[in-house]
């Protein structure tokens, strides 16, 4: 092909050269053509590797080696001697050259690590902290000191106490405008405060900080069994443990009581027994258990009476023969004969007790033939009008039995949900509390005239609840689904099944379980348009899930599922397109954008991939890397995208094992740096390192050969065979982007904003980004008029009294509200302390 082009192009170029008056040799022409056809000729994007530093052992080096050996063999005196040497040597070097060996800190750490006694160890670390040479060193030593169990426990207990009293104070202060109080308006504030306090005290639970402190105290006891403070710590553990047991028991008692209210006494007993296990001394737990047992005993007593039979009533000979016939037909489950007999006897004994039995027998016959709903209709008729009241009562009881009348259970569950939904719309979660809070302040300030304001508040609350119900009903549909499924499982061919299928389809659709919704819509015989609409919703759901999926495998799974299951839906086209995109070579491997590389120069620099810095200098004359950056196709191949006058062109380069290893080491190193960086300096979502860096890269496990294809089939046995371990490819399919590329415009988004209703007006507040002086910004209007304000920590009081001032500027003056600074729940694994 290239030859053809050369043959065609040569005369054209010759002619062009003649016209231009430039003599052109055949060799030059080939070079020009080559350049046109290959815009990146022989370009080497890699820097020449830097020379390995040469090292000549001196006294410092010898000492460093000895220090490590002595630390490993636990020769503490020798370690201290080496430490002294490095202190002296650094002092000398500082004086002479203004530089130091940089080894003193390491020597200090090795010396301190050998101290077994906790107090002495911490004292040594505090001493080192005083002499810390850099902010990083200071942070490191602070982290070591704070990592101590007892220190953490004490801090947590202090935080818990601060939060408790601070929370109480804040509730009091939230309605105290210092300027207003100074002018004598404090009755409304006092009322609001009292109500808030009453509610808060009723909700008192063991705080997460106290639970963390308890765990840390127990760790401390285990780690330092001979610590002199252990007696005091044991006593604190006892108190906290009792609090914890009380809290656990209280929760179980609440559940037991909730179950007892619903007449579910088995469940009530279960939770009451659990409560008694948590806190055997709890009187409430014993009371709840006794109550549940009492009800269960009553049930048992009733159930024991049920298996009793009555004496056979006296009947005429003819009646006796007919009864026997019925009994035989019933025993043989001969539905046809039973039905015929029942109808005849019903006519024959009209208005006599036997007609009730005949009607009921007809219902049994229908039941035997699987016509449950028809049978139930007869029982219902019997419950309304029977000759004997016993027969009527029995029929009514049968209809109430959840085992027999599953449809009634289903309708009951539906009705219950509707009622709960209406209750939610009308009352919300805590209407009474909200009303009391709003009413107290408003009534105190404005008297009966505030009722109008209160009405407005309630209208807003109602509207918000209604919106919540319409968009995402918080009242669970699970009981309806359970009852519906139970009905259709038992009576799949019943005439009412279609209605149940329809409700189930809607419920599953509401919950976003489209697969099931479609299946039930099809069973219910819903119109094709409806089924198609649900299918489209399901397809869109899968497409969204694919877009949100972090890894390629999951994305592929969602997209292929979409294409397989909803091939006819309009969304399937988009999914196919996405799959095709993903299949392209350039969309595989570890991809790093130019922006990401520019933000992390270590990764592309001489100690990373070794790319030339000129590729990133913005100068197209010396070739510039394209925005797509580079793509590590495998651990031995790098695909570089260049920005050329002809558009983006890619070129593949081999990578040596050394370069590849160097790159991965640098990537992990950079990840570590990001993790250590200050919260105000690193990108959002980068806690613990670079955002979403694959864990396999972080763990740097040695690469193992890929399994043979025949072993890769997902049979159950491969699990056992793979116990030896199959590895992942070293170069994972992943994309590393800068924060702005990952979340375009994210840097300029507003912080989360909360809205609140105060009387008939509004207020909005949002947290300010960390690092700014203020920590909250608010605008709105309250009963005193419009305001705009900011919550400011008081610099002079910072670290002394944790108080912020909320300052509201308003026409004609300003208000100042003091607020105690409360620590937010911090630390890992909050669920382990709940």
């Amino acid at each position: 092909m290239k030859g053809k082009i050369l043959r065609l192009g040569r005369p054209i170029l010759l002619i062009a050269a003649l016209f231009a008056g430039v003599p052109a040799g055949a060799q030059d022409i080939e070079r020009v053509l080559d350049k046109m056809l290959n815009p990146l000729p022989e370009f080497d994007p890699f820097e020449k590797p830097a020379e390995t530093p040469r090292f000549f052992p001196d006294e410092t080096d010898k000492r460093a080696r000895e220090l490590m050996v002595d630390a490993l063999t636990n020769r503490q005196d020798a370690v201290r001697e080496h430490l002294q040497f490095f202190i002296n040597e650094d002092g000398r070097l500082q004086k002479q050259h203004g530089a130091a060996t940089g080894l003193t800190n390491h020597a200090q750490d090795l010396a301190n690590n050998a101290i077994a006694n906790r107090e002495r160890y911490l004292a040594a670390q505090r001493e080192a902290l005083k002499n810390a040479s850099s902010p990083e060193r200071k942070k490191y030593l602070e982290a070591i000191i704070n990592h101590d169990d007892l220190t953490q426990s004490n801090q947590l207990m202090r935080q818990s106490t601060t939060n408790f009293w601070g929370g109480m104070m804040n509730r009091m202060l939230s309605s105290v405008d210092l300027v207003g109080v100074a002018s004598g308006n404090y009755i409304g504030a006092a009322l609001e405060t009292a109500i808030s306090e009453l509610y808060a005290l009723a909700d008192r639970d063991m705080s997460i900080e106290e639970r963390r402190a308890l765990a840390r105290d127990l760790d401390h006891l285990k780690r330092y069994p001979d610590d002199p403070r252990n007696e005091e710590i044991r006593s604190r553990i006892e108190t906290l443990d009792k609090m914890k047991r009380n809290a656990l028991a209280r929760k179980q008692i609440a559940r037991a009581s909730e179950a007892a209210d619903k007449k579910d006494f088995e469940k009530a007993r279960f939770h009451a027994e659990l409560a008694a296990n948590f806190d055997p001394e709890s009187q409430d737990a014993q009371k709840a258990l006794a109550q549940a047992l009492k009800y269960l005993d009553a049930w048992d007593a009733g159930a024991n009476k049920a298996p009793l039979a009555k004496a056979e009533p006296s009947r005429s000979a003819a009646e006796r023969i007919d009864v026997e016939k019925l009994l035989v037909a019933l025993s043989l489950r001969d539905a046809k004969q039973l039905e015929r007999l029942a109808v005849d006897l019903d006519k024959k004994y009209q208005s006599k007790p036997l007609s009730d039995s005949a009607k009921d027998a007809e219902a049994v016959a229908l039941e035997m033939r699987g016509r449950h709903e028809e049978a139930k209709r007869i029982v219902a008729q019997l419950s309304r009008s029977s000759v004997t009241p016993e027969a009527g009562n029995h029929a009514a009881t049968l209809l109430q039995s959840p085992e027999y009348n599953l449809l009634a259970s289903f309708h009951g569950a539906q009705g219950e949900r509707r009622l709960e939904t209406v209750k939610y719309v009308l009352l919300g979660e805590d209407l009474l509390r909200k009303n009391l809070l709003y009413a107290a302040g408003a009534m105190a300030a404005a008297g009966p005239a505030a009722a109008a304001t209160l009405g407005t508040v309630n209208a807003i609350l109602l509207g918000s609840n209604l919106y919540q119900v319409v968009t995402n009903n918080p009242v669970s549909a699970q009981p309806v689904i359970d009852a519906g499924v139970s009905y259709v499982r038992n009576h799949p061919n019943s005439s009412n099944s279609a209605e149940v299928y329809k409700v189930l389809a809607d419920s599953y659709e509401e919950r976003g379980m489209f697969d099931r919704a479609i299946a039930f819509h099809e069973l219910a015989g819903s119109p094709q348009e409806k089924v198609a609409a649900v299918k489209e919703k399901a397809a869109k759901g899968l497409l969204n899930a694919a877009a949100k999926a972090k890894d390629r495998g999951t994305r592929e799974y969602y997209l292929t599922r979409l294409v397989d299951q909803f091939a006819d839906s309009p969304t399937a086209g988009a999914a196919t397109k996405k799959l095709a995109e993903m299949a392209k070579d350039e969309n595989q491997g570890l991809r790093m954008s130019k922006q990401f590389l520019m933000e992390n120069p270590e990764i592309y620099g001489p100690n990373g991939l070794g790319l030339k810095a000129s590729l990133f200098d913005g100068n197209p004359r010396n070739l510039e890397i394209a925005n797509r950056g580079v793509n590590l196709v495998s651990d031995r191949e790098l695909l570089v995208y260049y920005e050329t006058p002809w558009g983006v062109r890619s070129q593949s380069y081999p990578l040596s094992a050394q370069m590849s290893d160097r790159f991965f080491v640098r990537l992990r190193d950079k990840n570590h740096q990001v993790a250590l960086a200050d919260v105000n300096q690193r990108a959002k979502g980068s806690i613990g390192g670079i955002h979403a860096l694959p864990s396999a890269v972080l763990r740097a496990q040695p690469e193992k050969p890929e399994a043979k294809p025949d072993e890769r089939d997902d049979t159950t046995f491969t699990l056992v065979r793979e116990a030896g371990g199959r590895s992942y490819p070293r170069v994972l399919d992943h994309e590393l982007l800068s924060e702005n590329e990952r979340n375009p415009g994210g840097n300029y988004k507003l912080p989360p904003i909360q809205g609140s209703i105060s009387a008939s007006r509004f207020s909005m507040s949002g947290a300010l980004p960390t690092g700014l002086w203020g920590n909250q910004l608010a605008v709105g209007a309250d009963r005193k008029g419009s305001f705009a304000g900011v919550q400011l920590p008081i610099p002079l009081l910072k670290d002394f009294i944790p108080v912020d001032f909320l300052i509201h500027g308003r026409p004609g003056g300003f208000s100042v509200y003091p607020r105690i600074h409360i620590g937010a729940a911090s630390g890992e694994d909050p669920e382990l302390y709940r």
Partner: protein
């Protein structure tokens, strides 16, 4: 200033809301005591029994009567009480229905005995009872066939023979209640086979694989059974056991531990638990949800130990 007459209307609205709320909170009506009233005459007892006694005991559990008690057990007690109170009345009918209840409770020898008593009388019931007694004799023979307690392979052979025998009965009595009873028995033997292999897996070559194979076959063959969710949970439990055994054998904090192997066992267990947890209207759902949480805890613990 707003007009004062708005005040009562707002309080009325609030009061109304409050009443509605309290009405919703009030406990439901107490269960009617009539549920526990003694059953009526024999016709009432048999009607209630036949109304609820499903023929397909393989797919559905034994129903409960209006008091929430197993209908077979309740009927047996009621018939016993009826016999006491009305001696020598409708004896054959009582014995026939007792036999029906007993066979559903898998008391085949007692049921056969009751049927034989009925067979001695005359009429349609006697013919049917004789036929049923004969079938139940076959049931008793298969159940009573001894299994080798010495040799595990002969024990397995014995179980296989029993499965074969039940299968023949299923074919023979297709469409009758005895088909379902035979299915129930076949299912029990299939489950027993898996349990036996599981208990002896370390004595057998590739024992773990055999157990997995056994469970896979069990859940495939008995998809329609009322016990399918229990089998799925048991299968999940076996994978969970394998995961725990792996973590005990190879210290998760050590270098020989292969997290991927552990993770695959755990994921297989989770897959089976999730299958049950997403089913609606079954009690096993609660158990499955708890097991998923437990497995999450184990995975988290081992992940951290291995880090």
């Amino acid at each position: 200033m707003k007009p004062a007459f708005e005040l009562p209307s707002i309080f009325i609205a609030l009061f109304g809301s409050l009443c509605l709320y309290l009405a919703g909170c009030s406990s439901r009506a107490a269960a009617p005591d009539i549920r526990y009233a003694p059953a009526g005459d024999l016709l009432d007892i048999i009607k209630d029994f036949q109304r609820l006694a499903r023929e397909d005991s393989y797919r559905f559990p034994i129903p409960k009567d209006i008091t929430g008690v197993n209908i077979m057990k309740a009927t047996l007690l009621r018939l016993q009480d009826y016999e006491k109170k009305n001696p020598r009345q409708f004896t054959d009918i009582i014995q026939f229905n007792k036999a029906l209840a007993l066979e559903r409770l898998r008391e085949y020898d007692q049921a056969a005995l009751a049927f034989r008593k009925v067979a001695e009388s005359e009429g349609r019931l006697a013919t049917e009872a004789a036929k049923n007694a004969e079938i139940l004799d076959t049931f008793v023979r298969i159940v009573a066939k001894p299994l080798s307690a010495e040799d595990p392979f002969k024990h397995m052979e014995g179980l296989d023979e029993k499965v074969g025998a039940w299968n023949q009965l299923i074919q023979k009595h297709q469409g009758t209640p005895y088909e379902f009873l035979a299915r129930v028995e076949e299912e029990r033997i299939d489950r027993a086979k898996v349990a036996f292999v599981e208990a002896n897996r370390y004595r057998l070559k590739e024992g773990n694989q055999l157990v997995v194979l056994g469970y896979s076959q069990l859940v495939t063959k008995h998809r329609q059974s009322k016990n399918i969710h229990r089998f799925l949970l048991d299968f999940g439990d076996f994978y969970a056991l394998l995961a725990k055994e792996y973590a005990s054998q190879y210290d998760p904090e050590g270098l020989s531990f292969d997290f991927k192997a552990f993770d695959q066992f755990a994921k297989s267990a989770l897959k089976l638990y999730s299958e049950v947890a997403q089913m609606d209207g079954i009690l096993e759902k609660i158990e499955a949800q708890g097991k998923i949480e437990a497995m999450r805890g184990l995975l988290e613990k081992i992940t951290r130990l291995n880090r």
